[in-house]
């Protein structure tokens, strides 16, 4: 049963399928909002198949081991994360007190692999992209952690499952976290490297940043990793900030979960439709002077509220 859980449902296969649908949804919505037609539903899968059929080329100067390992590490880290996030009930597949920290840690790994993969590609564009990915990590990681910390404080637990259970029983407390929700959404854009924070892969400046030298199967793995990361990030936000209707029949909760994730994907594509790419210095400034204080404000609000409630 455990092996099925890990490999098929809700593990690898389901997650990859959902990630591809998520990517299609993102691209289609983005296209529709820009007055374009957009790709057909199977396009993300077709891209993966096409990339998998291509030859792997590794630059002569690159570190072969690191170059090959990084996509695998990135994908493994994001797929494992889903085991700790409650999807359509208040119980995750695997949960213990403190799994929020583990999830945050696991979600940092892809960015680190982008850095290492780009750095060891030894291409100028990759190296600039890698340096930017790491700079960006330091900017959004703190606001993201703070904004997830605030609901956890109020729920008095470090376990995502317990946080979800706490809020689903006290729905009136959900609106309290609205600032944290917004901060987490914006920080998630940074994590996923989407406009306005797609600075590490700004195509008009540094080609594809980290991924410049990647191709074939390795690029397919990286792209899959980014798609899965989007689903995992959206699920995490849905579990903590949108714990609605968890007591309904199982199939209905499942549909509701899909809708929640799709709503978050819609928000992501909407935000990237209406904005231009920021510069790295503007991004860091924004994260430290606006986003981090806002997330901190949420923390203070929840601390005060906790004192009042008790």
């Amino acid at each position: 049963m455990a092996i099925i859980n890990i490999l098929v449902f809700p593990g690898f296969l389901f997650l990859v399928g959902f990630a591809l649908v998520g990517e299609w949804l993102d691209r289609k919505l983005y296209a529709l909002m820009q007055n374009r037609v957009g790709p057909p539903w199977f396009q993300p899968l077709a891209d993966i198949i096409k990339l998998s059929a291509k030859e792997d080329t590794i630059p002569a100067q690159a570190d072969r081991t690191v170059f090959k390992m990084m996509p695998l590490v990135a994908l493994a880290a994001t797929v494992v994360t889903i085991l700790y996030i409650p999807l359509w009930n208040t119980r995750a597949l695997n949960s213990f007190s403190g799994d929020l920290v583990v999830v945050m840690y696991l979600l940092t790994i892809p960015t680190l692999t982008f850095f290492l993969g780009g750095w060891f590609s030894r291409s100028l564009y990759s190296m600039v992209g890698a340096a930017r990915a790491l700079t960006q990590l330091f900017a959004y990681e703190i606001p993201l952690l703070l904004s997830l910390l605030a609901p956890a404080m109020l729920a008095n637990s470090w376990s995502i499952s317990e946080i979800a259970a706490f809020y689903s029983q006290r729905l009136y407390l959900v609106p309290v976290n609205i600032i944290g929700f917004m901060c987490a959404m914006i920080a998630l854009l940074g994590k996923l490297e989407r406009v306005p924070f797609d600075i590490p892969e700004a195509e008009t400046e540094i080609v594809a940043g980290t991924f410049t030298e990647y191709g074939g199967r390795l690029l397919a793995l990286f792209r899959l990793c980014v798609d899965v990361e989007m689903i995992v990030g959206a699920s995490l936000i849905a579990a903590i900030f949108l714990p609605f209707g968890l007591g309904l029949p199982a199939w209905l909760v499942f549909v509701l979960y899909l809708l929640k994730v799709e709503a978050i994907i819609f928000l992501i594509s909407f935000l990237r439709t209406i904005m231009a790419r920021l510069r790295i210095d503007q991004m860091v400034n924004f994260c430290w002077t606006i986003l981090a204080p806002l997330a901190f404000l949420q923390l203070v609000i929840n601390l005060i509220l906790k004192g009042v409630v008790q």
């Binding site: 909002m33 400046e205 080609v207 231009a276 790419r277």
Partner: protein, 412 residues
Amino acid sequence: MSDQDVVKIPLGPQHPALKEPGNFTLSLKGELITEMGIRLGYNHRGIEKACEQRSYLNDLYLLERICGICSHSHSTAYVQAVEEIAGIQVPPRGLYLRTLIAELERVHSHLLWLGVAGHEIGFDTLLMYSWRDREVVMDLLAALTGNRVNYGYNTIGGVRRDVTDEQKADVLKATDILEERTKYYAHLAGQELTLTKRLKDVGRLSKEDVLRLGVTGPTARASGVKRDIRKDDPYAIYSELDFDVVSNEHCDVFGRTLVRVGELLQTYKMIRQMIAQLPDGPIAAKAPRKIPKGQAISRYEAPRGEDFHFVRGNGTDKPERVKVRAPTLVNMQAVAQMMKGGQLADMPITLAAIDPCFSCTDRMIELQDELGNSGQVYSWSQVREIGIRHYRERGIDFSDLSKRLANWRERI
């Protein structure tokens, strides 16, 4: 930081930021640009030389192909110079129609630029929107002239096609749509926060630098230099039209955007005036095949700035010399100045803000040896010998083949 921290990044000749070949070597300290080297000349086509071997009318079509965007600008600038030498009076209706196409071309060029600018700063929605709206004017140009870019509308002495009353109505209708959309973009440019953040204080060029470097077009007008050939040295029918020269004192990419959007609104005003005032009569005067001896210069306000043509005739049906100076040539000098101390992320938009057109600019090639010495002149036979030696060194020898070819010819 020591000199070892300076990273040199080559951008181009092929790169995704621009659709034309140009090589830019950026010296970077972190994200800051300390120096920029520009290398153009990948697209030399020898058009000026080719002009000397073709008749005046053939040259018109050749010069139109200098640029894929401001094709009408080059052909009009050339045709004006030829008409001046030959002393041809173009009928008023011909001049009006020529100017109408010129202004429609400005609309399509500026909308295209707006989209490119959006793409350079990662705002693809602006690209998709403005290029969708650009289709309106492209369709209009195709309906009026028969083609979307290389219109072939001018001829020596006038234009080649007349407009019908239905087409006039179409022009007015399209102008209304475009004006509404442009007003929306003007509103957007001032409102959208990420847009203004990326455009303001980027690529600064002071008024003094504009005057020193001889910068033209919207780039100069955005630095407070009110220069516009249409106002300063009116050609065609611009002296009869009522319009303002749009300029501002921003001195940055934001200012250049505002100038272009403002110019679009002025252009719609001019198009309406031209349609309303369009006189009756012939559209072209008859031009002689042989143009008399003489020389003339012609200046034209292309969408990118001053387009300069010089033509000298020697009494035959072919010009003795045609000289073209596209606006990008002068504006390019300013880019290195704008780039100094800028960020890597601002490089594409700074470059795009002069609306560069490298292919139009490439007029000559200067050969340099390994030491950077130039000025050596090779005769045709010397070039041939160098070529033969070059290939022989690489194991390719045609001498045997050419001997056999000569023998075979003798036998026949």
